[in-house]
Assembly symmetry: C2
Homo-oligomer: 605 residues x 2
């Protein structure tokens, strides 16, 4: 097979066209379905090759920063690597925020940047910057490509490189891979310069090989804990009643919820499930050990002190809840075991006593199998009872509040969203709202959040990318600052006819700052201007600009109607909830008090 | 003096507060007037210190990418260094595009990024990314600060560091300096935590020293060419009639235009003045050797071939005109002398035979003094005559065209703008339009453009930053894609009540691509979607969102009225010129033909 291909290659009219075509063909065979392409001249060979590769879907994006986050959201929602193509210069620099997020969140991206060839770099040529290692240590690998020469060798390289780049983006750990392409003029296809373009020669070339399989296949063996390690862990679980499984932010993994719940049940330990862990909701919640309100429970000093665990088994990334971190720091557990198959050590309290480099699904199944019958545990019973009491009290208080405040927005959404929905949540307050107030439930809900670097940037584009995956209705819960930070990203909704429901919690500025001590300093530190960034914008104009449906709701029935209308629509809708920020801060604090009261009246502390 | 300060310092309630206050105080004494601050929690100590430093003006910006470009435009228009403050995480990553532009354009920026302290980095703490050397080789210096300790030593360091950072940002070459600040909790001021804040202690501390002078003053000697070098250059000028002075993009330098014109007159050489060189317009144009239409002249193959120079003396950066580059490449001059005081070698044709590391103003004055009387030169006369003939013919053809097309927009603006105006022009087509069609004139016009990396990003924010300098009316000439790329940047216009006139050439997509060969490939390469990025937006909604005045003009009289109205207003106005792109491409090409015809009928080739 390879020799036939090589023969075709030798006859190709242009070495670069063949090289680039082979590369994109191989990307697609290796599992890449989507390419986000930004406009440019230098990147013409890459854009043309992506457009003509039949298995690839191209998404055109003006702004490379938004393109980066769109690719991130698409990769997250489709659980597959996504490629990015941009021209040279600051275009490539605009990818950095999304690349950083992808690095820390372990999302596979293939970042393909066009560049001038070496002889034009640092000689004053236009749109030419230093793109070598532009993303620093935030990529799995940086590759500076050669200018392709004709012949079979370069084609073998093109195909191998595509396979390798995808494999390295898939990890472990998954993340971005940066390929920098030196491209000389002419940039347009040379195979047929005038009139209708005949790409048949190139297509044939790219199609040769092993049509349904990648040129090189990468197989990764699954690490398992040894029998000895397993026994040790089982003994540790058996030896400690006061254990918890902390479930931090993580992508959806089929079967993981059941496996963790099964292990927790057998250990007699509660699962403290972060709202973004994918483990707070789903069938495993039926009589399961899922704690939804850890953040509220552990804000109660007495409860927290009375429920210090001896063992913590953590899966997923650092949890959202600060109360949970302070709880463990206040009374460090004897054992804190961090499960991270990818070599991470994401435990900022420096309390980890063991790091398990193993896939959590495999580990939980292995341990659960060995543990036998579920432990009868007062510890688990009391934690679950406390969670239920707090959950009921807080939900009652939330429902009694008819003003448009954030906790109820979370609970209303939780009721409204169908099982197949995907909720993208912004950082800053929305994810904290969600973590504090999203009840556990047997109906599943996929929750995505950019918890790699926890930025408020790129949120609209991330959610639009998730919508582009076409896996079900996507709802974005965002504040107004995150919305504004990525405003231009909405262009993609219009140009690509995407369907997204945007729930905009508008408190006219960064509501989170009102929770911080700096809020007390007021004018002395120019609080409104430098911290809150109040703006007074009327967002209906943003909706009009980008052709979105718009409603500014005044009541919860209106909110529900708007969300239902939007989810039934194929368009993107902006649903604005005007939130009175001071009332919201008070309400949040009141709910923390409600939780405490419920605990004390239920004698749960 | 220093011992008094040290005594005060020792008594300071908090080492970090004193350290940060001293640093900002020193920034201000060293010539920094403006700080662009983006919201965040980790950056609280920096934001608070900036806000309370009486000599500093703080500009609050939501989006760090826009903040970066705002600072860039402000630094350009005020010819002074500007500081940036952001929180940790992707916030810092969003500065990269502006940092890259500032690096290549040699604009002084002080990039102050908050970070978690070392013990929390790469341990899964929130909003924590690898910020060390985040901007790679695009900064003059990267400094990782220590966590400040109490005592006089750290304070001396804080003040010295501020002086040094400013000095290094000022160059030569000027550019960005990155300071990364590890900051531990508590982040709010500790000196008076409750009630009204008394910053007097901190202020006194920061005010001690030498009030009107920086702690350390940096003095840079001016390099001069030696007598021998000067004689050699003078001999070279005298020995060659066929010489040109190429004036590329450069910031305004008082006296430079007169000095270059004087040298050119004495040498008998024309000045090929790029539209962004600051040398095309001004009093030196009176009977001066300024060529305005080099781009059009040199598109005429016969003229170009007949006017190959023997010597090129270049000041400024790489010129915008591609025709000019091809002209020199077609018949390389015997001598191409690049004047660059900063160590650059921005000559992508690799034709430089000499690089002069000397300030152009000094050089031109030194050479002109020695050259004596102006040379009577047929070469210069014929070049100037050709320029005038082409200028008249093209201007006539432009005026005869009543449709709303780009060349006339340039010429109408040139007539409308007062001497004190600053024209910010976007990359891609607008700067090329300006370079081709802006006539020379005795009235000055400052033209700024992001020619460091030639990106279309950050254009609105750059122009708003220039407007914030308050040096006169600022007009931005931009295309629709550049406008959209930085849409969110308009928030600053509203929040800071800035006065800017935005002239938006709207041809519904990237008009420049219609000039490129790829345009001929049409649907075969998905041209409309992947290259042009057509969008069909109604920009009146963008104006409404950000509270700008808006007019979509239908004729030139309307255009003139709108520009005049806007320049008289204290608000920001959006003036949209709908441009029919195919007609524009044809018109541009027709004007190139008009120029050629004028040359041949005037027997100028």
């Amino acid at each position: 097979m390879r020799s036939a291909e090589e023969a075709t290659v030798a006859a190709a009219p242009d070495a670069r066209e063949a090289f680039v075509a082979a590369f994109f063909d191989e990307l697609q065979r290796s599992g890449v379905d989507h390419v986000c392409v930004s406009p440019g001249s230098r990147s013409t060979p890459l854009a043309v090759a992506a457009a003509r590769c039949s298995g690839l879907r191209c998404w055109s994006h003006l702004d490379e920063r938004s393109a980066g986050f769109f690719a991130l959201g698409l990769a997250r929602a489709s659980a597959a690597p996504v490629a990015l193509v941009c021209t040279s210069g600051t275009a490539a620099a605009n990818y950095l925020p999304a690349v950083v997020e992808a690095h820390y969140a372990r999302v596979p991206l293939l970042v393909l940047t066009a560049d001038r060839p070496p002889e034009l770099r640092e000689w004053g040529a236009g749109q030419t910057i230093d793109q070598l290692a532009l993303y620093g240590r935030h990529v799995r690998r940086f590759v500076e490509l050669p200018v392709p020469e004709p012949g079979p060798g370069p084609l073998r390289y093109a195909r191998s490189l595509a396979c390798r780049a995808v494999a390295e983006a898939m990890g472990p750990p998954a993340g971005p891979v940066h390929l920098n392409w030196p491209l000389r003029e002419p940039l347009e296809p040379v195979s047929d310069r005038h009139g209708a373009v005949d790409f048949a020669a190139g297509d044939t070339l790219a199609g040769v090989g092993r049509p349904s399989r990648p040129y090189a296949e990468v197989r990764i063996a699954t690490p398992r804990v040894s029998e000895e390690q397993r026994s040790e862990l089982v003994a540790l679980v058996r030896g400690h009643e006061r254990g918890v499984v902390v479930c931090g932010p993580a992508p959806p993994v089929p079967g993981l919820a059941q496996a963790v719940a099964e292990l927790a049940r057998k250990a007699g330990w509660p699962m403290l499930a972060d709202a973004t862990s994918q483990l707070r909701r789903g069938p495993h919640c039926a009589n399961g050990p899922v704690i939804a309100h850890a953040d509220l429970l552990l804000r109660d000093a007495e409860f927290a002190a009375g429920h210090a665990p001896e063992v913590v088994l953590r899966v997923g990334d650092t949890p959202v809840s600060k109360a949970q971190r302070l709880w463990l720091e206040a009374a460090p557990p004897k054992h804190l075991l961090l499960v991270d198959p990818d070599g991470g050590w994401n435990e900022p309290s420096h309390l980890a006593s063991g790091v398990l480099r193993v896939d959590p699904l495999t580990l939980c199944r292995d341990l659960a199998r060995e543990l036998g019958e579920p432990r009868e545990s007062e510890w688990l019973r009391s934690m679950l009872a406390a969670d239920r009491i707090v959950g009921r009290a807080v939900t009652r208080a939330i429902s009694a509040e008819s003003a448009l405040l954030e906790p109820r927005a979370v609970q209303e959404l939780a009721r409204l969203l169908p099982d197949v929905a995907l909720l993208y949540v912004s950082n800053s307050m929305p994810v904290r709202d969600l973590d504090a107030f999203l009840p556990a439930c047997e109906r599943p809900l996929t929750v995505l959040c950019n918890r790699g670097a926890n930025g408020i940037d790129g949120v609209l584009s991330s959610a639009l990318g998730a919508a582009a995956a076409g896996r079900g209705p996507v709802v974005l819960l965002t504040g107004d600052l995150a919305f504004l930070h990525d405003l231009g990203g909405l262009l993609a909704a219009k140009r690509h006819d995407l369907s997204l429901t945007i729930v905009l919690l508008n408190n006219d500025g960064g509501g989170i700052f009102s929770f911080l001590p700096i809020a007390e300093y007021g004018e002395a530190v120019d609080f409104e201007d430098l911290f809150r960034v109040s703006h007074g914008l009327d967002f209906s104009h943003a909706a009009a600009l980008f052709g979105m449906d718009y409603s500014r709701v005044q009541s919860w029935p209106e909110f529900r109607a708007a969300v239902e209308r939007s989810m039934a629509s194929v368009r993107t809708s902006l649903i604005e909830l005007p939130v009175e920020r001071d009332a919201n801060v008070q309400h949040f604090r009141e709910l923390v008090r409600v939780a405490s009261l419920a605990l004390s009246s239920g004698a749960m502390r």
